[in-house]
């Protein structure tokens, strides 16, 4: 139930986030034209059908905030952790139903505040989703740093509380409520991913809260944690001795692990979906767990790679270059393991499988350019350009979104007891995959041309004028891709009501959730919780004669090890 609440709230926020991006893509591709849709939705920020620079800044800021936190953190990990942890480890429910409920309602409250903040008179928060002070601290610097920013901070503080409660609950549940026989080394990779995600969330989110609190102090109580020596609108402000670089450290201590808080659940989900649909065990199960742990560990010691050019000591830059580039190793292991899982499989190309394979593809495409951005010397010239925007949208935005779609298509039967329509699913995948590449691949080149991100218009510099036609291509793909999500929404809501009734184990999976009744029930299993005898990936296992065990290409975790069978 809570999973569904998370998902639907996340989808609602997602619609807003994506719609905002479509509006500002219009501005970037057609800076001189007026659109009545802009005037209709943006009001005085879009008078005459052209958005103001302030409105543009607000849209990119809230787009980023919503997509990163509300859709891909809460919507993805909140949904699937709550849904799959009890079902896949064999528990009646989460360890604390009460914490779980508070965590959702706090998330709901923070979504509500963020949503309302869009409409305040002085404008929504518009200092970028990273809200670097002094810009975010001083209403004199931009009007979005007034009430809009206050609401942003309040909403995020509540969000962090919600996320912490959720994460603690996930960790406790996974560690304590596993059914008999469910050793840690028999857990599906989804659960491993959720567990590690929750752990890095608990480590890093409180630091963001401290960053936000200090910013609130600076904004309303006159402290100088981040501010010093400022002259604005004709007067010298009283702030002395603070440094914005402190904020950057605190922010990115969460901000970088956040990337993996978003990505790891998607990697877990796709591992499960790819293995099930390839009818093959996931290749290198232990190496996959090892890489998840290595990525999680490294993710907490690389935050400085967002700060190579902030004026931080260059020696620190060297250290962070070293740790950052190391992440490529576990990532490469994961990518190769995925590819080997596809090799000699019997791929059932369901919509969930297509999205999962698409995710492997975008994960590699987006991840590789990390070699450039993570290298301090190379970062100098591409830092904060559109190259960065292309990189992180592919590697964490699109990849995590694909993981989320894969999860929804795959586990929809477990959420609603119905099947989603596969034809719509295919249509959704094909349009989305092509537009995703169409939007973000050409964007790298705009960045390499030196175009900074968060530019309201690139016509102020003659040297960027030739980028307009690329921007148009990107916008067309973005509009098509954005509209294609309506297919998904329609399919989703239609299938809840009118979808074909699901059978117990539609994808012929091994994991425990497919042993529960089709209709969700309190306590998950009607009788005893089943006992687990094997890992989750005994697909297409054969006996000594090369025949499939039991004549079927899957062996549920609940089946005891047969005579003569070797446990993997």
């Amino acid at each position: 139930m809570i999973a569904k609440q998370y998902l639907i709230t996340g989808m609602f926020m997602g619609v807003i986030g994506v719609f905002m991006s479509m509006l500002f893509r219009l501005q970037l591709a057609y800076p001189d034209q007026s659109f009545s849709i802009i005037e209709a939705f943006l009001g005085k920020g879009g008078e005459g059908g052209q958005m103001t620079p302030d409105m543009y800044m607000g849209l990119v800021t809230i787009h980023g905030t919503i997509m990163v936190f509300f859709v891909l953190t809460a919507g993805l990990s909140g949904t699937f952790s709550n849904l799959l942890i009890p079902l896949q480890i064999g528990a009646r429910d989460m360890a604390s139903g009460f914490l779980n409920m508070i965590s959702y309602w706090l998330f709901f409250l923070s979504s509500l505040i963020m949503f309302l903040s869009i409409f305040v008179h002085t404008g929504m928060a518009s200092a970028g989703w990273t809200i670097y002070p002094p810009l975010s601290a001083l209403p004199q610097a931009m009007s979005g740093s007034g009430l809009g920013m206050t609401l942003w901070l309040v909403s995020m503080a509540i969000f962090i509380a919600s996320s912490l409660m959720g994460s603690l609950n996930y960790i406790v549940t996974v560690l304590n409520l596993r059914t008999k026989g469910m050793k840690m080394t028999r857990l599906p990779l989804t659960i491993w991913a959720f567990l590690i995600t929750a752990i890095i969330g608990v480590i890093s989110f409180p630091v963001l809260l401290s960053a936000a609190l200090l910013l609130i102090f600076d904004r309303s109580m006159g402290t100088s944690f981040y501010l010093s020596d400022i002259f604005i609108q004709g007067e010298v402000l009283h702030y002395k001795g603070g440094s914005p670089i402190l904020f950057e450290h605190l922010f990115w201590f969460l901000g970088h692990p956040e990337v993996y808080i978003i990505l790891l659940p998607a990697l877990g989900i796709t591992s499960e979906v790819i293995s099930t649909n390839a009818r093959k065990p996931i290749f290198g199960y232990r190496a996959m767990i090892g890489s998840i742990m290595a990525i999680a560990f490294l993710s907490t010691v690389v935050w400085g790679h967002h700060m190579f050019v902030t004026g931080m000591n260059p020696f620190l830059g060297s250290v962070f270059t070293f740790t950052t580039l190391l992440i490529a190793i576990p990532s490469a292991v994961k990518a190769f393991n995925y590819i080997t899982t596809l090799w000699k499989g019997n791929l059932q190309l369901n919509p969930a499988m297509l999205f999962s394979i698409g995710m492997v593809s975008t994960f590699i495409t987006g991840g590789l350019t990390g070699l450039i951005l993570g290298d301090s010397a190379l970062d100098i010239n591409v830092h904060d350009t559109m190259f960065v925007v292309a990189h992180f949208h592919l590697v964490m935005g699109i990849s995590a979104l694909f993981g989320m779609f894969a999860g929804v298509y795959h586990w929809f039967p477990k959420m609603y007891g119905k099947m989603m329509n596969k034809d719509m699913g295919y249509l959704h995948f094909w349009i989305t995959a092509i537009s995703a590449y169409g939007v973000f691949f050409p964007m790298h080149f705009i960045g390499l041309a030196g175009l900074p991100r968060r530019y309201y218009s690139n016509s102020a510099f003659p040297m960027f004028e030739d980028l307009l036609h690329i921007n148009k291509v990107i916008t067309v793909f973005a509009l098509i891709g954005g509209l294609a999500q309506l297919i998904f929404l329609a399919n989703f809501f239609f299938s809840i009501g009118k979808g074909k009734k699901a059978i117990q184990n539609p994808w012929k999976g091994n994991t425990l959730e497919w042993t529960t009744p089709v209709e969700h029930m309190h306590g998950n299993w009607p009788g005893e919780i089943p006992e687990v005898h094997r890992w989750a990936y005994d697909y297409s296992k054969t006996d000594d004669n090369g025949e499939l065990w039991g004549g079927q290409d899957f062996t549920p975790q609940t089946l005891p090890i047969r005579k003569g069978e070797e446990e993997f």
């Binding site: 670089i245 902030t310 596809l342 499988m353 003659p462 074909k500």
Partner: protein, 339 residues
């Protein structure tokens, strides 16, 4: 009113979808992929692979002309460019190989009824290979990268560098040359007053000969060390042609240095630059705007407010002699402030 209209349209479309789905729902067919769908989508995935390859190839050919000139305008930038080319080569190679494997395997092993997948769960040998190979490659990249980074960041052993302060504010750049003594006078926001917009302490003995300017001129072949200050919010001084960038942070001074190697006049003759600006001028001609010539630029690359997108300063690189002549013509701070 218009918003209402759009919402209405949305509902109409939603209803159309709804009806369409109702039709689909009537068939009640199985919602798991059939053999035929595996086949069709296998082929389509091959198509997606081809599309991605096409897009990559097309972008690399067509996108090349919009890029920054390959010729780095600074000595230090040449090192960065070498590292960039090597890293990019590696990325493109790995990208082409792995994407091929993904889409080819998806196509080749698309589900066929009755075929057995191979139970292949582990191979320490393979895993060792693809752990060791990236480790070796990355070690080289890391060492080379750190070497380059240290070279670029090291400003300690420059001989007779030119010292320039670049001063950032919403939404404009100013600059100050250190003058005859090559020492900058102290600056602080408390001293901002009237024409002394950079807040220079005029009682400091190094201040009087400083030269305030609104356009940067740099001598070819002499190391320039920039000191950056900001008076209000974070800005980032970004000079893409010189491969140079550093943030301007209120409350502290940051620095960056490079040696310009290509004058503005020489860069205008560069093949890449010419191609890019020909294309730009063609575009401008079609719109009836006058044509432009290449100029080096300093632009702001850290979100700083509404006009962030238009915060720029022209940079001119010239022969040392021309530069010296230009500098002589500029008024010193003492002349400007005391008049």
């Amino acid at each position: 009113m218009k918003a209402l209209f759009y919402i209405l349209i949305f509902f109409v479309i939603a209803t159309a979808f709804w009806q369409f789905f109702k039709l689909l729902g009537l068939t009640k067919k199985d919602q798991v992929a059939t053999a035929k769908e595996n086949d069709v989508n296998g082929w389509l995935m091959l198509g997606l692979g081809v599309f991605i390859y096409g897009l990559m190839a097309y972008s690399m050919v067509q996108g090349r002309v919009v890029l920054l000139p390959q010729l780095s305008a600074s000595l230090e930038g040449q090192d960065i460019d070498k590292l960039f080319v090597i890293t990019m080569g590696l990325i493109i190679f790995v990208q082409f190989v792995t994407q091929f494997l993904i889409y080819y395997f998806t196509f080749k092993y698309r589900g066929v009824e009755g075929r057995k997948a191979v139970f292949y769960a582990d191979s320490h040998k393979l895993e060792m290979w693809w752990t060791v190979a990236p480790t070796v490659v990355l070690s080289v990249l890391i060492i080379y990268g750190l070497w380059t980074w240290n070279n670029v960041q090291d400003l300690s052993n420059a001989e007779n560098p030119l010292i320039i302060e670049v001063y950032a504010k919403q939404f404009q750049w100013e600059a100050r040359y250190a003058g005859a003594d090559n020492e900058l006078g102290l600056g602080h926001v408390n001293f901002i007053k009237g024409i002394n917009t950079m807040g220079v302490d005029m009682t400091d003995k190094n201040a009087a000969d400083d030269i305030p300017v609104r356009e940067l001129h740099l001598p070819k072949g002499r190391k320039v060390i920039f000191k950056f200050r900001s008076q209000d919010v974070l800005h980032s001084a970004y000079m893409p042609h010189f491969r140079a960038q550093i943030n301007c942070v209120p409350g502290m001074t940051t620095s960056f240095g490079f040696t310009p190697t290509v004058t503005t006049a020489e860069m205008r003759l560069d093949e890449d630059t010419k191609a890019k600006f020909d294309a730009i001028n063609e575009l401008r001609a079609s719109k009836g705007i006058e044509s432009v010539e290449f100029d080096y630029l300093l632009l702001c690359n850290k979100i700083c407010g509404a006009s962030h997108y238009n915060m720029q300063m022209k940079v001119v690189v010239e022969e040392e002699e021309d530069f010296n002549n230009w500098l002589k013509e500029q008024k010193t701070l003492a002349q400007v402030v005391n008049n």
